[in-house]
Symmetry: C2
Subunit: 455 residues, 2 copies
């Protein structure tokens, strides 16, 4: 029986990063990565296959960096694991023993089995599978009326990309009042709706799907609870993802109520020498401390680096405790980004907060070509002024600007410190130094705290 | 005699921000700002007047926000100050008394009096004066052969903008081996030279001007030490700025050896109730602790916010001690940015350091339209892994990405923490989450520290 010091199940971002990081630190150890398909996809790049990238091969992601680091790869599916004897079996009949086992099994689209007609032909998903997406591309090519269900990031991005094909009618159905409602407060999410419409998407918010209707087993229309019916040759359901943890559960690992594998802050499961990272593993909210279910390649790779550096001994202390969600997207040429708490998530988690807000243009003077409006909103603890969240709307620069707020949250920076934050500013690149947007939002938050205190 | 609680001399970025901030906090106090010209300019926007903005009026900056906050403005020049009796005189014959006095007198181009011919007609400067720049615009319009002396930020940006006029021959002369040599290490500065050349600028590095030659009192050519002569209808000298502190010196304030007004960390001079901010005031290096001479609108406005919040009582502690220079510019569509220490400044200041470096593209997959190469280099203390500097080259996103490094330096973030930094990433906006460039540069720095230690 073949044996490896480390076996990683899954070759998504977290599996690959954990493999590379750990193998580089432990060149004397043998590593195997088991992946189900030969070719992988950059997960967050999938929506862009449908227009901007033109070709699926432009979005492929393989295990080459892991192999270059000295790891081995097996294309197979793990069917069974015996945690006690440290042996796993695969679909092709192999038995392989391991010293340490890493679950990086990711997540899979939620199938809307609660909607009648979900099993009709041409009701599809954004699965993170090369083969699957390749097949979906063909269905998209021959479809004219496409309905996307779910206005989260994936649904909004897919709809925006599909609408760039001028020969298609694209409808996006979101049950909440606005798209992106989990990551943005209402004023920002309203802008997201606006930009999606401007990009040619027929956005229907506050609408619930009652039934998927078809004939001869194929989708023909989407019936809403309000009685409207929308013609559809193709439906793409993007209502979320669930962790792939059946294998882990069968192996006897403990799951959280969200279905993720229970782990501690070093990504260790409750079983000796078994670890879990990425979408399949438990996360714990940075602000709230609650078990949640953040599924982001960026946080998955941060977990993977923690694991990779500490797999054989704890050598790199985890200093940022808790998972901080930092989101960004671009719709219709405008960027939306958020980090940490937003108003509704703070309210839900019973977190006291004050808001600071500022609007400007992202160049100075604003008359420079290409200048775009920028809106920044920060969420602040009124007790000590710590920044616990933020949202930004604007041009391309927002994609990295949100990481300033992300770092500020992770390092417990206060608005009182941020007032004298020394920044780099440039006419062609940022807001003006006299009113650097993040600093002005902090000033506004200070005013609001003083107002609350009746000063 | 008129009297004000606060008089601010100067209406550049620091004067305006100090005025607004302080007046908002102290609405019962009377504020006067004395400015020499009615219209001001966004200082860092001046190079863009010469092409991208097309019109000087697009780059004007006035005291309106200060006036809206309840401040008064006087167009006049202060000629004398009696610190003892707290009275100043102006050119127009006014005597005004003050409770607190703020010097925000800025800086002025260094005149190369050590170069023969410096006083010829059409040897000009980038002075921060609306009237002056308006006049310079006329001279630029009628010039064909323009020579810019000095390849710092202002010289490089002015040359790049002028070269966009295809009917002009623009030469940039830099005495060091590369342009931008003070803010970037040789590999980055080499790229700056390359992009300036690509933008149509005739870049001559390692060249010293011997003499400015003319006839009938007007410039005709620039003679280099190596014997070459460059035809010139117009010379723009951009060899640096000096603080405007003659008035302060005459009033008896102490100056540093750099000619700046001595101040403490709350921007107080050695005289009671007299303050100085911005280019005219002393700065103390964040890393080195040395008195230096950083002249940036961004650091000036940070000083102004410190002063504005603490003018009548210390209510907002200064937490970032020392001035951190964060630079950014765009040349030929590529962005160059740096923060804190670079290799040569660390060497000069006898600071131990290790480098971490990473190259990638600023989108993922890199095949996305508009993707640009990105290079990031960080400078790290080998003792504890604190990030003390960084340089980035790439697309527009670099303009805000450098502020992540800036915040990391100001908050003493280590590379060991940064390894698990949770970021927002997006295909259209950032490097990939599997290899977020800043995190990878930190990993590389850790490897280099381990190599140094012989691990």
């Amino acid at each position: 029986m073949k044996s490896y010091d480390v076996i990683i199940i899954g070759a998504g971002p977290s599996g690959i990063v954990a493999g590379i990081t750990s193998r580089k630190r432990n060149p004397d150890k043998s590593f195997l990565m088991i992946m189900e398909e030969e070719k992988g996809l950059v997960p967050c790049g999938i929506p862009y296959i449908f227009h901007d990238l033109e070709d699926i091969s432009q979005n492929s992601m393989g295990p080459a960096p892991f192999v270059n680091a000295g790891g081995e790869v097996l294309i197979d599916t793990v069917t069974n694991i015996d945690i006690g004897s440290k042996v796993l079996q695969t679909e092709s009949g192999k038995s392989i023993s391991y010293g340490k086992l890493v679950f990086a099994t990711g997540s899979t689209p939620i199938i809307p089995i609660f909607i009648k007609g979900y099993d009709l032909e041409n009701v599809e998903y954004i699965a993170k599978s090369y083969k699957y997406i390749n097949g979906l591309m063909d269905r998209i090519r021959s479809a004219v009326n496409i309905v996307v269900i779910g206005g989260g990031f994936i649904g909004a991005e897919v709809a925006e990309q599909l609408a760039k094909h001028r020969d298609k009618n694209v409808t996006l159905i979101e049950k909440e009042n606005h798209c992106l409602y989990r990551a943005f407060s209402a004023d920002f999410a309203t802008l997201a709706d606006k930009h999606l419409r401007n990009a040619g998407v027929n956005v229907l918010t506050g609408c619930t799907v009652k039934e998927l209707e078809g004939s001869s087993g194929k989708i023909e229309s989407v019936l809403l609870v309000d009685g409207r019916s929308i013609k559809a040759d193709l439906v793409i359901s993007a209502i979320g993802y669930k962790p792939c943890t059946e294998l882990a559960a069968r192996a006897g690992l403990h799951l959280t109520s969200n279905g993720t594998i229970r782990v501690d802050k070093y990504m260790r499961t409750e079983e000796q020498d078994v670890y879990a990272i990425g979408d399949c593993s438990q996360t714990s909210g940075f602000i709230t401390g609650r078990t949640d279910n953040i599924m982001l390649a960026s946080t998955a790779t941060a977990e993977a680096r923690i694991l990779g550096n500490n797999l054989f001994s704890i050598s790199l202390l985890r200093t940022f405790s808790g998972t901080l969600s930092v989101f960004s997207t671009e719709l219709d040429g405008y960027v939306f980004a958020s980090a940490g708490a937003i108003e509704q998530s703070a309210l839900e988690a019973n977190v006291d907060y004050v808001v600071g807000r500022f609007e400007d243009v992202d160049r100075h003077p604003g008359s420079l070509p290409g200048a775009k409006k920028i809106i920044i909103k920060i969420i602040v603890s009124p007790e000590n002024g710590e920044i616990i969240g933020g949202e930004i709307y604007g041009g391309k620069s927002v994609g990295e600007m949100i990481n300033i707020i992300g770092l500020a949250i992770q390092k417990y920076v206060t608005i009182y410190e941020m007032i004298s934050f020394q920044t780099g500013t440039h006419p062609l690149l940022t807001t003006a130094p006299t009113k650097y947007a993040l600093v002005k939002a902090c000033e506004n938050a200070i005013s609001n705290i003083e107002k609350q205190a009746g000063k």
